[in-house]
Symmetry: C2
Subunit: 433 residues, 2 copies
């Protein structure tokens, strides 16, 4: 992670002719991000505009980030895949970035109708610079000054989430859930010394839960959770927040408030670890129902092949999760897991690098189940309990990986529900009524 | 019209480090514009890609301009109008410009699949600078050098038609049919001294006709027509080409070839007047079935009002076509006509400028019928014949306007078909079989 180039505003510290931003006018600036369901229809956009008018009358100065209308990004991906299922590159990113262009324009029109000065903004206008890893780019720089100038003029910026531009001005996209990252990165770019900066992520769930309630009905809402735990949860398959978004929040101290678009009450605050008061041993059970495993046999000879393979995958933006390797008389055997969305790109890389003599197998019916908690740092023995629970329910574990604050296992998809329910209960996460 | 800032390439004239374009590699560069039906579905996009591959193998170096997939711009306008029927401004332009972003990305993916290096390009990437008259902006400048650099590297530029960016980097759009203008302006921006530059406009009709064949079944195809006549036809309601496109063609000597997407044969060439060999007295009968007339009574007192009204309409991009004015004891009466698409914006301007004591009436069931021909310059008496023909068919003429090479009359919409058929026949334009 390198956000060192993220510009910091020098509001109030200079009086040069170019800096006309009024420091006092920048109280109550808040970044508010709305997901696809919040802008999913004209009716939803109108009601979101009403809600923003209430916020503005209440004294807030919002900077709005919006996703594409729900279903739109999938529709666009579907069009691309009708032509070429495996292609990822600049044209793909330009295509799928058009969804946010539509939603922010419509929201701006709805605000203008209500007498609010709103300006829709695309990545190239805000200088949201990223690297060139298409479909999974990382933000390097944002022109926060420009945003604050608009706010100080009484304009509500409506920013297209999910997109950036690379060094050559080509549109890039940040991957699934990338609008969250846009929002937190904007909050980081406009942060001001001595003022806590926060970012609201409005979504179709009311909060972060101890597990996915569709899988574990007894899952509870979490009021506060640390950046580290949320980062693990995002990495392990929780769909609530994009991992990069939490990373940026942690690095720049941006408190993230995940809450419902449709209710006024508070949801979950993601905050520095010291601000989480009651710390459980395990704070959540997280899963990824769509893990895929690639197996290669025999691995092409020579010590350089695996290094080159994983280097290429990394360069193209594939996150390889777990790798196992074994030697036999017939040759070297390797397996690695990726998330479902990385399957096309992984297949493309393998097609380019593997000769016909190597057999490539893809297994798509795997799931990863994990427990996460900073409490594990000081309490050994969580791993032992984890395996005991799975064993008691006769669930075979294929691959395991651990870190200081999480334990993960790859299991068959059809054992997922049993495993999640059992772990959630045994680690005392079930809600009590 | 001011295209003085349109950059001209200095290829081959300098050897500075920045200029790496190879002059010899720029033979056979041609701008090819494809309308909405050419990219109207994935199947159409695939078959367009096949056709471009054939052109490239045949030695052409195409620069492609594409419209939005057919129906898409109307769908986007429909979304905006659900929120605010009358709004036009930056958010509207950003919204409707997204259609081309989708079609050029998909076409680029289809070409990449066929092994062609293609790059989709938006207005901000090409520096297509316009004024800030939203929904009807005029191109001022294009970075032709950048386009030619891509071509010299073997890359096929796929340019989003219809869009530009203003001085503040906001997206603008060029009005209905604006992609034609984009194409001819690109051809002007890349023209090279001593080489004739042409631009192909692929459309769903095979050529320009002497009248709209749906209205006049005996209409004939025109092989060659002068820029001046085509400009009048566009101004008078012919939907074949955007008027601005023909203006730029005339000013920079870009021969425009209008032809069918679905047939290989030639269509209509729009060329300088001297290159049209057989010049008829009247070359076409043109109509605008959707003329609207606004009437104001009484006009607010004071000499400045009308000047201010028409100035404001012009600034906002409304083209006022015909104006009539009369004085009576009760006050001043004025009527003016605009095309149907300008009705919302006109209504908005009137709403802002007119006090409640003035009655504003809108009549939408008018049509304008015109005959066009450079032959009229040397043959007086065409106007007399025009009125005789209409009188013989008992068609009342409400308003008339003429120029050196055209005569126009506003009539009731229900007389349109009779008038067009009669004029087409009397001026010897009917096809003979």
């Amino acid at each position: 992670m390198n956000l060192s180039k993220l510009k910091q505003t020098n509001i109030g510290e200079s009086n040069t002719a170019g800096s006309v931003t009024d420091f006092r006018s920048l109280e109550n600036v808040i970044v508010k991000k709305y997901g696809g369901t919040s802008v999913g229809s004209i009716e939803r956009i109108e009601s979101l505009a009403d809600r923003l008018v209430r916020d503005i009358k209440g004294g807030q100065k919002p900077i709005v980030v919006a996703s594409a209308m729900s279903g739109e990004t999938n529709r666009l991906i579907g069009l691309a895949e009708q032509i070429d299922r495996d292609y990822r590159g600049p044209a793909y990113d330009m295509l799928i970035a058009s969804g946010e262009q539509v939603s922010i324009s419509l929201l701006a029109i709805a605000l203008k109708k209500r007498g609010i000065k709103a300006q829709p903004l695309l990545a190239y206008q805000l200088g949201i610079r990223t690297d060139s890893v298409h479909a999974k780019a990382r933000i390097k720089e944002i022109d926060g000054d420009f945003l604050l100038r608009l706010v100080s003029q009484g304009i509500v910026p409506i920013v297209a989430g999910f997109q950036g531009v690379d060094e050559e001005d080509n549109i890039t996209t940040l991957g699934r859930g990338g609008s969250d990252t846009t929002a937190v990165a904007l909050a980081a770019a406009i942060r001001q010394p001595g003022r806590p900066t926060s970012c609201e992520i409005f979504t179709d769930v009311p909060a972060v839960f101890t597990a996915d309630p569709r899988l574990v009905p007894k899952a509870r809402e979490i009021a506060r959770i640390s950046f580290d735990e949320m980062m693990e949860m995002a990495a392990l398959g929780s769909k609530i927040l994009h991992i990069r978004c939490v990373e940026i929040g942690a690095k720049y101290g941006i408190r993230i408030h995940v809450r419902s678009t449709f209710e006024e009450r508070e949801g979950t605050w993601i905050v520095p670890e010291g601000e989480v008061l009651e710390q459980a041993l395990v704070s959540s059970v997280t899963h990824d129902a769509n893990t895929a495993v690639f197996k290669l046999f025999p691995v092409p000879a020579g010590p350089g092949f695996l290094a080159e393979l994983f280097q290429t995958l990394a360069t193209r933006g594939v996150v390889v999760d777990i790798i196992t390797q074994s030697e036999a008389a017939e040759g070297q055997r390797i397996a690695f897991s990726v998330t479902k969305e990385d399957v096309p790109l992984t297949r493309q890389v393998l097609k380019e690098m593997i000769k016909s003599s190597t057999e490539v197998t893809l297994i798509e019916n795997m799931a990863k189940i994990s427990v996460v908690g900073v409490g594990m740092r000081n309490h050994p023995g969580v791993a032992a309990r984890f395996f005991q629970i799975l064993a008691r329910h006769n669930i075979p574990v294929h691959i395991v990986t651990t870190s200081e604050i999480k334990i993960s296992a790859v299991i068959d998809q059809n054992h997922l529900s049993t495993a999640a329910t059992a772990l959630h209960s045994e680690f005392s996460l079930d809600k009590t009524e």
